[in-house]
Amino acid sequence: MKQLVVISGKGGTGKTSVVASLASLAAFEAPVTTADCDVEAANLALLLPGQEIRTEPFFSGRRAMIDPDTCSSCGLCAEQCRANAIHSEDLTVVDPLACEGCGVCALVCPVEAVTFVDNQAGVWMERRTAFGPLIHAALGIAQDNSGKLVAQVREEARIIAEREETDLILVDGPPGIGCPVHASLTGCDLALLVTEPTPSGEHDLERVLELLDHFRVPAAVLINKHDLSPSFTVRIETLASRAGVEVVGKLPFSPEVPRALARGELPLAIEAVAVPLTEAWERITALLSGGIARPLARADALTDSVV
């Protein structure tokens, strides 16, 4: 089984549209498992309609509660809490959005007024789509630990892919370069970097390439909306070639794409996009089936940084 993770550094470059389109292309051959790891803003399900067959709660961490009858109002907890979750105005109220569940308040409380409750931080779901199973999730509003939920989505996707005997897991990753991105990359075979020819696109791609180099994850680049700036497209190609990373394709800008998305259709329905995307998919499958030069050794080291 192979795992392809689509990330970008910069948000809004077209990751989700690309993942849904690639899933459609892959499904011509055989069903594919898709996973939406952008758990803070999960959009893949909007493009992959189907039937939800399972919804499971996701628990992460705990939150402190202070019993007002026991509390002696000494204020030690507020003094020691670095998350700023307890304030001296009302020592019996813990701000649930700020509390990290570290337990310092309970440690310093002289009268044992602090208890903890498990925190449901979100849900994850399994859906049946025309292309194969989709695993997606919703992180609760104002929750942290999205890296843990990403790790869970990846793990469930692996289990479901084995059960359904699909050869490929396609992962829609989060933006940025922090914890949820690390969790998305763990143990993947190839990272596809979707970028755009702008100063922001170039700058963020540079940082993502540095991250992938740090964790020794093999990569390929797909340039979206390349015709919006031929000069920045050249700069991105140069950046990729200096990093030893193949540009597997370039997609044109088309105002038809957001319009198609608004109708719930895939960009593949637009010919100007479909042709280069299909060619890019051929390059990606070639890379996945063994044309990769860079080592994978440190991909497992990522597990350590998932918080």
Binding site: N43, Q80, V104, L107, P175, G178, D204, E210, L228, P258
Partner: protein, 288 residues
């Protein structure tokens, strides 16, 4: 001081375009203004504001370290730590700094007083000025997370602590709705949500609105590329009685100016007039 967060659920909707343009407009019109780039994983404001930097400091957060030789291997620190960041061996501890939340509890839990704290660098904070040619320079502040570092929130906290009083403070937030965005939103007087009229934009806008409401903050919206998509976002905003401060249509010349690292408002009189009502609102908010 009046602090405004420019945020969005979805990435790539135009937060940096809107915040750099607003900063430029306010400076041009003579208002004291600071632009703060808090998208520390992928900060981009400098690519358009081209600031002259006067200060760069590494930012560190505290992590535990063994001091002296009194560790008895009792394991109190390990039992206390909720983040599995410290493991007790017979005569010392093993630390996983990436997992540490810097709560300081292990130091308090240690019976032998064998643990102290030391700083761990996670990024840098830069300060300077931009657009001095307008006659009213923009105060520029930005933080950049070290590549490979997992937790952005402490660095954002450190960045926000550095904000001084220049009048209007525009904070360019990261995408999403989680802890790092909340760290910013809880500090501000107004949240400007930048969205786009696609199903993705709408889906993530709803999450962002819920997040700002959970924190009890007033919110206004900017719809970018307003002619590329459907009317779902506008209908939602109307139903929720959220004011639309600006609708910015897609213009190739805006995309082009942006692609050349120019501030979009400086290149487009049309954008200036579209942002005028929002600019007025920010000025009114700062003086009230």
């Amino acid at each position: 001081m009046s602090k405004i967060a420019i945020a969005s659920g979805k990435g790539g909707t135009g937060k940096t375009l809107v915040s750099t343009s607003l900063a430029w407009l306010l400076a041009r019109d003579g208002h004291p203004i600071a632009y703060v780039d808090a998208d520390v994983e992928e900060p981009n404001g400098h690519l358009f504001l081209h600031p002259e930097l006067s200060d760069c400091q590494w930012y560190a957060r505290p992590i535990p370290e063994l001091i002296g030789k009194t560790c008895s291997g009792c394991g109190e620190c390990q039992r206390f730590c909720q983040f599995n960041a410290i493991i007790a061996l017979p005569d010392r501890v093993m630390l996983f700094p990436e997992l540490c939340s810097s709560c300081g509890g292990c130091v308090l839990a240690c019976r032998e007083m064998a643990l102290g704290e030391k700083p761990r660098e996670i990024g840098r904070i830069e300060a300077g000025t931009a657009c001095a040619e307008t006659g009213h320079p923009i105060r520029f502040l930005a933080a950049t997370l070290d590549v490979g570092e997992a937790r952005a929130t402490p660095l954002i906290g450190g960045l926000l602590d550095r904000i001084e009083d220049p009048g209007i403070v525009l904070i360019d937030a990261p995408p999403g709705t989680s802890c790092s965005v909340m760290e910013i939103v809880r500090e501000v007087d107004l949240v400007v949500l930048v969205t786009e009229p696609t199903p993705f934009g709408l889906h993530d806008l709803v999450l962002a609105v819920e997040m700002t409401r959970a924190l009890g903050k007033p919110v206004t919206a900017v719809v970018n590329r307003s002619d590329l998509g459907d009317d779902g976002a506008l209908r939602y905003l109307e139903a929720e009685q959220i004011e639309v401060a600006a609708e910015i249509p897609f213009r190739p010349e805006l995309a082009e100016a942006y692609a050349h690292g120019e501030i979009a408002a400086a290149a487009s009189p049309e954008l200036c007039s579209l942002l005028l009502p929002l600019e007025s609102r920010l000025i009114a908010g700062a003086s009230s």
